[in-house]
């Protein structure tokens, strides 16, 4: 069985990794996707399914961190309009 603190830690790592993206859209998407994913599986009682979901989350975290390197190497040239402050 996966411990609650492990799940919370995974959630936090995903949110932290997603926050580093230079692109606004990806940043928001990873945050939304992370929280939705955890909410979707919050009522899992079957230990096997919980472990499966936890492993999937870890695989997603690796993907987020891998793709982040590409995005940091090629950041967007302009800011998203959502990031601009209203004058």
């Amino acid at each position: 069985m996966v411990a609650k603190c492990q799940v919370i830690s995974l959630c936090r790592s995903l949110l932290r990794a997603g926050r580093k993206y230079p692109d606004y859209n990806i940043r928001e998407y990873t945050k939304r996707r992370t929280l939705d994913g955890f909410r979707m599986n919050k009522n899992l009682t079957d230990p096997l399914k919980a472990i499966e979901a936890y492993d999937e989350g870890n695989a997603q975290l690796e993907a987020v961190q891998r793709v982040l390197k590409v995005y940091l190497a090629y950041p967007p040239k302009t800011k998203n309009i959502m990031e601009l402050k209203v004058q």
Partner: protein, 119 residues
């Protein structure tokens, strides 16, 4: 040695107090992070603003000593989300061990207020 002392006595540079031509002594230490430290009231207001702007929270219920899960009816994931939002607001990085302990407004306020890097 005696010669050296005698020489030094005659060669001493006179110390004079310069008038107000010079700028007054600066008590502000540049590069010191503690000078612009946040006031307690500032921290309280900003933490409460973050919590109030959370979509599932009823802004009327938020007070400085409200408990996220007991009083506001949030779950542990919401708590994680709020703590992350507070991190972003104050430009902090709260380690997991500390972040797990923050489960109420009062603890969050205390942590942020005592953190030297919060801004």
């Amino acid at each position: 040695m005696a010669l050296r002392n005698a020489l030094l006595r005659h060669l001493r540079v006179p110390v004079t107090v310069r008038g107000s031509k010079q700028s007054p002594i600066r008590f502000i230490r540049a590069f010191s992070s503690h000078d612009d430290h946040l006031s307690k009231q500032d921290v309280v207001d900003r933490v409460l603003d973050v919590v109030k702007s959370f979509p599932k929270v009823d802004p009327a219920k938020v007070t400085p000593d409200v408990h996220f899960q007991k009083d506001l009816g949030l779950d542990s994931l919401d708590t994680v989300e709020i703590v992350m939002a507070i991190e972003e607001e104050f430009k902090l990085e709260i380690p997991d061990k500390e972040a797990d302990k923050i489960d109420s407004c009062s603890l969050a306020i205390e942590y942020v207020f005592n953190h030297p890097m919060s801004s």
